[in-house]
Amino acid sequence: MMTEFLQMGGYALYVWPSFALGMLVLLYNVAVPLLTHRAALRRAADFHAGRRTNGEQIQ
C-alpha cells in the first residue's frame, strides 16, 4: 500500500521531485525574510546604541 503510493503509478521520478521542489520554494520564501528581518533589527539596534555592527563601541 505504502510502496504503491510512493511509486505513483510509475511516475514517482516526476511527481516527488515536483512536490519536493514546491516545499523547498515555500521554505526559501519564509526563511529569507526571517533572516533579513533579524539582521535588520540587529543593525538598527547597533546603529541606535552607537555601536558598530561588529558590536564594538564607537569612540
Binding site: Y11, F19, G22, V30, H37, A40, R43, A44, H48
Partner: protein
C-alpha cells in the same frame, strides 16, 4: 473621499504598516496551514487517479497554483507600480520590490514542475510553445526587475525605473493567459477558469482550489515578512525604528 484619503495616508505610513502586518502574521500563518494541509492531503490521497495521465496528474497540485501565483504577483506589482508613479506612495514601491523575488520563485517552480510533467506526458522536458515561452519571459521580467533595482545607488531612482519596467512588462500577462487560445500550443487549454463549468472532476478540483488559496495567503504572509524587514532598513534613522531597536536591544 475624506475617509479614503485618511485611510490612504495611514496605509502609506511605514510605522502603521509595520505594526499591523506584525499583528496579522500569526493569523495568516494559521490560515495558510488550514488551507495547505487539507489541500495537500486531498490532492495526494483523496483525488482519484486521472484516466489518461495516471498518477502523474498530481504534479498539477504544485504546478497550477505556482503558475497562478506567478501571474497574480506580477499583476499586483503592476498595480503597485501605477500607485507609486501616480501618487508617489512609498509603501507601494516597497511592496513592488519585495514581491519580485517571491514571484520569481513561483515562476521558476511553475516552469520546473511543468517540465517534470511534460516529460512523461508529452515526451519532452521543453518545447518552444507559446505558453512555455511567455512564462519563461515572465521569469526574465522578474529577474530583470530585481537586477534593475540593484543597479541604482539611489533607491528613489531605482524605484521609479523599476515601476516603469513593471508597467511595460504587464503586457506579457494577457499573452500568457490567452497563449493557449491564440496559438496552437502543446500546453493544454484552461480547465478551471472557463465560462461554462470547469472540465475537471470535483474531487480533483477541491484540492486545487484549496492549494490555490493557500498559495495566495502564503504570498501575503511572506510579502508582509519581507516588507517589514525592508521598512526597518529604509527607516533606520526614524524615531519608531529607534524605539523598536532599543526595546529589542534590552532583551
Amino acid at each position: 473621499m475624506n475617509w479614503f484619503m485618511r485611510w490612504f495616508h495611514r496605509f502609506g505610513s511605514p510605522v502603521w504598516f509595520y505594526r499591523i502586518a506584525g499583528k496579522w502574521l500569526p493569523w495568516l500563518s494559521g490560515l495558510f496551514l488550514l488551507l495547505f494541509i487539507p489541500g495537500l492531503y486531498w490532492g495526494l490521497f483523496v483525488a482519484p487517479t486521472d484516466y489518461q495521465q495516471g498518477e502523474s496528474f498530481r504534479i498539477m497540485y504544485v504546478h497550477v497554483p505556482a503558475a497562478w501565483m506567478s501571474m497574480f504577483i506580477y499583476v499586483a506589482m503592476a498595480v503597485c507600480a501605477a500607485i507609486a508613479l501616480i501618487w508617489r506612495m512609498k509603501l507601494a514601491d516597497v511592496v513592488l520590490i519585495c514581491s519580485a523575488p517571491v514571484g520569481a520563485s513561483f515562476t521558476f517552480l511553475a516552469l520546473i514542475t511543468g517540465s517534470l510533467w511534460g516529460k512523461p506526458m508529452w515526451g519532452t522536458y521543453w518545447v518552444w510553445d507559446a505558453r512555455l515561452t511567455s512564462e519563461l519571459i515572465l521569469l526574465f521580467l522578474y529577474l530583470g526587475i530585481m537586477a534593475l533595482y540593484n543597479a541604482f545607488e539611489e533607491k528613489r531612482t531605482a524605484s521609479r525605473a523599476v515601476a516603469i519596467l513593471t508597467l511595460v512588462g504587464v503586457v506579457n500577462i494577457p499573452i500568457i493567459h490567452y497563449s493557449v487560445v491564440w496559438w496552437n500550443t502543446l500546453h493544454q487549454g484552461a480547465s478551471v477558469s472557463k465560462m461554462d463549468a470547469p472540465s475537471i472532476h470535483v474531487d480533483m478540483l477541491i484540492p486545487l482550489i484549496l492549494l490555490g488559496l493557500a498559495f495566495q495567503v502564503f504570498y501575503v504572509l511572506v510579502l508582509f515578512l519581507r516588507v517589514r524587514a525592508e521598512l526597518l532598513d529604509r527607516e533606520l534613522n526614524t524615531g519608531w525604528v529607534r524605539q523598536l531597536a532599543l526595546e529589542h536591544d534590552d532583551d
